[in-house]
């Protein structure tokens, strides 16, 4: 017979297995989103085609997500918006990752005082409200897509820089780096062959998680009217535009919002899965 055992195990074991169906759903969703971003025409028609005779119509077989205030098909806009929102997110994340790696390595490899100064400013910046940072940047550079991307990218830099610095710190002191010294490896060689690859290991996963954050932030800023120009079907802007019609057409804002949520959930689920895999590989 089996003795019923006290807690965590069961729950823990399940929590490791549970996301499987979720993971599959996330993967399917992400593939769809990617396809939508690359070939939106596969899924939907013209996102800009206005039809003054059919404004704010409820979801139907013809307009899956209904129509908006100009009679445009919300579903088509959401699909085409994937390119805008995802590319804003990806571009911002790339900026953040690139600058984060550079600054993080710089801090992790440099001497005490420089490291202290750099990592203090990462700390300060990452505790500073993201929205405020981005707003500040927009106050300087003006609104527009480019400025939005750079603003989000910059706001996320400290996040990556901190991780990279911490990782560099660990790796730099790891015994295997010491061992490489035993073979007469020069400093530059150490950095290139040991430190860099090991530091960058967790970055892709973080980038996926960061992408979610970037998209959320972009939606927020778009909502505040600091996003791409109309009629670009960016998701945040759609939610924001649709909000004015909430009484008569909830779908114009809620459905694009649901897509944003689904995207970020999917990214997070996928990112966490790989994170766990990655950590598991490190430990096992």
């Amino acid at each position: 017979m089996t003795i019923a055992l006290d807690r965590p195990g069961a729950a823990r074991a399940r929590s490791l297995r549970a996301p499987r169906p979720g993971l599959a759903a996330a993967a399917v969703f992400l593939v769809l989103a990617l396809l939508a971003a690359l070939w939106p025409a596969l899924f939907a028609g013209d996102p800009l085609a206005a039809d003054p005779l059919h404004v704010l119509e409820a979801p139907s077989g013809q307009h899956w997500f209904g129509t908006d205030q100009l009679g445009r098909d919300v579903f088509a806009r959401v699909v085409h918006g994937a390119r805008h929102s995802l590319s804003i997110g990806v571009a911002a994340t790339l900026i953040a990752v690139g600058a984060g790696i550079l600054l993080g390595l710089l801090a992790g490899l440099s001497h005490k005082i420089a490291d202290e100064a750099l990592s203090r400013s990462f700390d300060a910046l990452s505790a500073f409200p993201l929205v405020l940072l981005a707003l500040l940047f927009i106050a300087i550079a003006g609104t527009g897509t480019t400025s939005l991307i750079v603003a989000i990218g910059m706001a996320l830099v400290p996040h990556f820089a901190r991780v990279v610095r911490a990782q560099t710190f660990v790796v730099r002191r790891a015994a295997y780096v010491t061992h490489a010294v035993a073979f007469g490896a020069a400093r530059s060689r150490l950095v290139v062959r040991h430190v860099l690859p090991n530091v960058l290991g967790p970055v892709p996963v973080l980038a996926v998680l960061g992408l979610g954050e970037a998209i959320l932030l972009a939606a927020g800023l778009s909502f505040l009217g600091m996003g791409p120009q109309p009629p670009s079907p960016e998701w945040g802007a759609m939610i924001s535009e649709g909000r004015g019609y909430l009484h008569v057409a909830w779908w114009a804002s809620v459905l694009p919002g649901a897509v944003v949520t689904a995207t970020i959930v999917a990214l997070t689920v996928a990112g966490r899965f790989y994170q766990r895999r990655f950590e598991g590989r490190e430990l096992a």
Binding site: G22, S126, L132, L216, S240, G257, V260
Partner: protein, 299 residues
């Protein structure tokens, strides 16, 4: 002890100065000059421009203006709003209370909900938390507003009158915090419950709830405290959006308006204020660590 406090204060001042200077320099680089910002969409003739330059002393060199700004800021004078024609301290001062009220209410709501979730419904936490964290807060706000205020009329649509007006915004702002915090707490609890000391506690005959509350919770709080700074960012960033959605007065509104109309003195003041709060939060975090974790206390 005294030197430690002085060091802290000094570091705090340094952060303030750095934030103010960075923001000042950055704003200096903004397109369109100050006069443009003050003119706004009003009438614009050379005569009007000349008057503006004279009134705001914009003919002085950038260095002099910066030093003047620092000097006055050190005396607590943050200048006058270009747009609102009032002292910045008055503009911000009048909006501080509603924002603080909102932030505190949201924080309390978020923490309580997170604790409830993490301790009682651990299974549910990860999914619910994930969805909450992944939903744009303004969407949550919009939905809450249209259901509970427009349809059901339970809560006022907006403003800052009484407790009822605080409920929906605080929930909107608190939910993402609760989502993240609950996940962190849950993770921490799970981790702590697997630690040898927790097994030892069980081996003493302690019931599971006892292990949870007497041992694991404190450990789970440590990573949660680390998130204090982060939550502050989310709270302040969130107020910007939540105030917009609910038409609440507050610093968020002021900030967006100031950014939109390049009202630099106000933007600067907001940055300095945020930096000041950051310094305070940081100190509080450190103290909280000391309180919870004896290993950090120096004898």
């Amino acid at each position: 002890m005294i030197t430690a406090i002085l060091r802290r204060a000094g570091a705090g001042l340094l952060v303030l100065w750095a934030a103010a200077t960075a923001a000042y320099l950055a704003l200096l680089a903004a397109p369109g000059d100050t006069v443009d910002a003050i003119v706004g969409d009003g009438a614009d003739t050379p005569g009007i421009r000349a008057q503006i330059i004279q009134e705001w002393h914009l003919d002085r060199s950038a260095v002099v203006q910066y030093l003047d700004f620092l000097l006055r800021a050190a005396h607590g004078d943050l200048g006058r709003s270009y747009l609102l024609q009032r002292p910045v301290s008055a503009v911000i001062g009048s909006q501080l209370a509603p924002t603080l009220k909102l932030a505190v209410a949201a924080a309390v709501f978020g923490v309580v909900l997170a604790l409830l979730f993490a301790v009682t419904a651990r299974r549910l936490t990860s999914t619910a938390g994930l969805i909450l964290v992944s939903t744009p807060p303004f969407l949550i706000g919009i939905i809450l507003l249209s259901i509970f205020s427009f349809r059901l009329g339970w809560f006022p649509v907006s403003g800052d009158r009484g407790f009822a007006a605080l409920v929906l915004p605080a929930i909107t702002l608190g939910l993402p915090i609760a989502g993240t915090l609950a996940q962190v707490l849950r993770d921490g609890l799970d981790r702590a419950l697997d630690e040898p000391f927790a097994v030892t506690a069980r081996a003493r005959g302690l019931r599971e709830s006892g292990v949870l509350i007497r041992h694991a919770l404190k450990h789970a709080l440590l990573p949660a405290v680390t998130m204090l700074g982060w939550s502050f960012g989310v709270l302040i960033g969130g107020t910007v959006i939540v105030e917009q959605v609910f038409g609440r007065p507050g610093l968020g509104q002021v900030t967006v308006q100031a950014v939109n109309s390049s009202d630099l003195p106000v933007v600067l003041a907001v940055v300095i204020l945020a930096a000041a709060v950051f310094v305070v939060i940081n100190t509080v975090t450190d103290l909280a660590y000391l309180l919870i974790d004896p290993r950090l206390r120096r004898s």
